[in-house]
Amino acid sequence: MTEPLLKIRDLRIDATVYPPGEAAREIQIVKGVDLDLQRGKVLGLIGESGAGKSTIGLAAMAYGRGGVRITGGQVLVNGRDVLTLRDSGLRRLRGNEVTYVSQSAAASFNPSRRILEQVTEAAILHGKFTRQQAQARAIDLFGKLGLPDPERIGQRYPHQVSGGQLQRCMTALALCPEPDLVVFDEPTTALDVTTQIDVLKAIKDVIALTGVAALYITHDLAVVAQVADDIMVLRHGEMVEHGATDQIINAPRQDYTRALVSVREIRHDEQPPTPTPVLSVDGISARYSGMHDDVLSDINVALSPGQTLAIVGESGSGKSTLARVITGLLPPRSGRIGFDGHDLTPAQRQRPRQDLRQLQMIYQMADVAMNPRQTVETIIGRPLQFYFGLKGRQRRDRVVALLDQIEMGADFLDRYPAELSGGQKQRVCIARALAAEPKLIICDEVTSALDPLVADGILKLLLQLQKDRQVAYLFITHDLATVRAISDSIAVMHRGKVVRYGPKSQVLSPPFDDYTDLLLSSVPEMRPGWLEQVVAHRRIEAGGE
């Protein structure tokens, strides 16, 4: 076997954390990881948040983000230990031998410089190419990455191109200096599912064309299965399993890998709609003040008691705006909202307390939806006091009962939000919503910020609670796998309109309208070769028209 391009031995990385109310302490993020990467190969690093995958990726550039310190081990690039490099050696490594593609290209491009200038900067500065050569190479890469008008797109500023285009520009930026290794750090995670597919294909093709080696970091096994030759599964800073992509997907050896592969196998049998809905949205149109176009136009959906209506769509489709209209934060321009047999007042401030109580909301970011200086007991106890006047002993008992329902228990009464994990925070938010004993809970992307296994737990909990308490969910999400798992009926939104609406079985069965077809076929499937199939299928369709 030839000497690998990247060879990591017993890598150990520490970070200083500052837990609230305690002294700062050291934690180990990476605990002795070994890794080999041959020239021209793609290794997928996969794991949940906190697994240390990004940290390992950046260590290949001898870089530690924030308070992170590499405390031991070796990172050999081209046979040279980069951890021993000093300033000028590091500068020759970074942006030259090893380059980086971040999750958010929008934040990683300097807003005040033209794209081409930023893409070519490293190649020129490291003396790899003259300015003209670098620009020619960048334009060539823009073309290979499928960007429109490759000759001129570099003259634009980052805010002038779309998110998906900018992510491809970022890939061009990483490839321009002809590096030996590119670290892709969740490059498609922030994109809409229909955009992700094109960017993923572009990245995969350009890797094949240039023969560069890559570390591909992601939490999405289905995505990494499309691009990686090998996959390494990480957990809590340690390697769980390492093998060829096929083996990891089809014959995982470790329980943890098996859990990752089999995630999203929740089943929920669709219930038929009842004659009297708990929520009916009739002809709602809305726009934000100062805007000339409707963000929502003529929305008609209904939700039966104790059931789940999933609102699905990409960013900008208006699904969160619909939640704002229903909760009364954005009074609509026209239409009515029926709730539990009567019409809701458009503005939230004028609604009777009874309506406020029966309509609760859970948010995507559990962190910011809780007061960091209140304990779990205060957070969950607040609606009990506000709506039911419970105090003292009574209130505490009720909070403990609610904690039991969310599978957490009385131990958590005195904890602060910062002492909870992401999944626990979301559970507390659910308990807070339940405390009001609502008829309807609006769930706005409640699992999007969570790792797949944790998200699964939350979905299971939500379904169980629905069964026990007959609460209805309006479930807003961009994730079709979640929709499949939990909904009774589905509304697909696109550019402020409902393009498809009905019971789950009907919405998810052909014949599809164009947009729903695009959306459904864009969801990555956990088998190698899926990406090529979809893209080929789309080409045939486009050619046939």
Binding site: Y100, S108, S112, L125
Partner: protein, 319 residues
């Protein structure tokens, strides 16, 4: 230039003009509520009622306030600031020369202080929390903490009297050669630079450090760029708006706050002029000076806003 930017700029200029108009009303009202009677103060205590009445008639003091305000404003718009009550000279003419001197002094201070402050700010970021940063911060803070008249006298004593490098009294006259003029104002310029440096330097440092947290700075680091290039090419362009804002505030301070320094160095600028006439309660002169200082503030802040608008790539290059 695109239409959007032009529209925003036009709005900003119109707002400044409106603000200036309101300030002119404030200044006029302010001088009206000062106690005492102008005619009385000109003629003195022994004046006869008839003489007072005649003078009031002559000065138009018997007319209602809004008529007098409109007359005054009309004059200002025509470039006629009225005549001084104490010596009967045309105010515009008297101020013209003085204002020129003040702008010269402030301009010289700005030409040195602004680039120096930004340069020191960049150095502070480059050596953040190491000794050059601490030294720069310490010295500039010390300079801003000492009142300017004290710095003025100290410099005057050492460099003017002991070393004889520069004249300790900054008299300039018409027709003085340029270099001689520069030498004459060396000390007041030094004082002004010391006074405004710290504020601009620290703001530059803070603004750049704020930008240094951005993800695109990490991108630049991972490109293997040198630290100075990162700060200069990637951080500074995005910190221009806050830096320009504080620079303009300080320039305004240079013009307006120069009063004390001018008096210390007996420099024939607006400051000395204003102090002289306030002492004599020469209302038209005070009004004129107030209006000019207000205009300088509003104008410079307008420039700061315009630069910030133009520096914003989203406005400069819309989608």
């Amino acid at each position: 230039m695109n239409p959007l930017i032009l529209k925003i700029l036009a709005q900003r200029v119109a707002l400044s003009l409106l603000l200036l108009f309101l300030v002119s009303i404030l200044i006029f009202l302010g001088t009206q509520i000062l106690p005492g009677d102008v005619a009385q103060s000109i003629l003195g205590r022994s004046a006869t009622p008839q003489a007072l009445e005649n003078l009031r008639q002559e000065l138009g003091l018997n007319q209602p306030a809004h008529t007098r305000y409109l007359n005054w404003l009309g004059g200002v718009l025509r470039g006629d600031l009225g005549t001084s009550l104490t010596n009967g000279r045309d105010i515009a003419q008297a101020i013209g020369q003085r204002l020129g001197n003040t702008l010269f002094l402030a301009g010289c201070a700005a030409i040195i202080a602004v680039p120096l402050a930004i340069f020191l700010g960049l150095i502070s970021v480059l050596y953040r929390n190491r000794w050059p940063d601490k030294l720069i911060s310490g010295l500039s803070l010390a300079a801003i903490s000492v009142p300017e008249f004290l710095i003025g006298y100290v410099l005057m004593f050492y460099f003017g009297v002991m070393l004889g490098w520069a004249p300790s009294v900054s008299m300039v006259t018409e027709g003085m050669p340029f270099l001689a003029r520069l030498q004459a104002i060396a000390l007041p310029v030094a004082v002004l630079v010391l006074v405004v440096l710290a504020h601009m330097m620290r703001m530059t440092r803070a603004a750049i450090l704020n930008v240094m947290q951005s993800a695109y700075i990490e991108t630049a680091e991972l490109k293997g760029l040198g630290m100075f290039r990162i700060i200069w090419r990637h951080a500074f362009p995005n910190a221009i708006a806050p830096v320009v804002n504080v620079v303009m505030l300080n320039l305004a301070y240079l013009v307006v706050g120069v009063v004390v320094v001018e008096v210390v160095f007996v420099y024939p600028g607006m400051g000395q002029f204003l102090v002289d006439h306030v002492a004599k309660r020469d209302v038209p002169v005070v009004q004129a000076c107030g209006l000019i200082f207000a205009s300088v503030y509003i104008l410079l802040n307008m420039v700061a806003d315009i630069v910030a608008i133009i520096a914003n790539p989203r406005l400069r290059h819309p989608k």
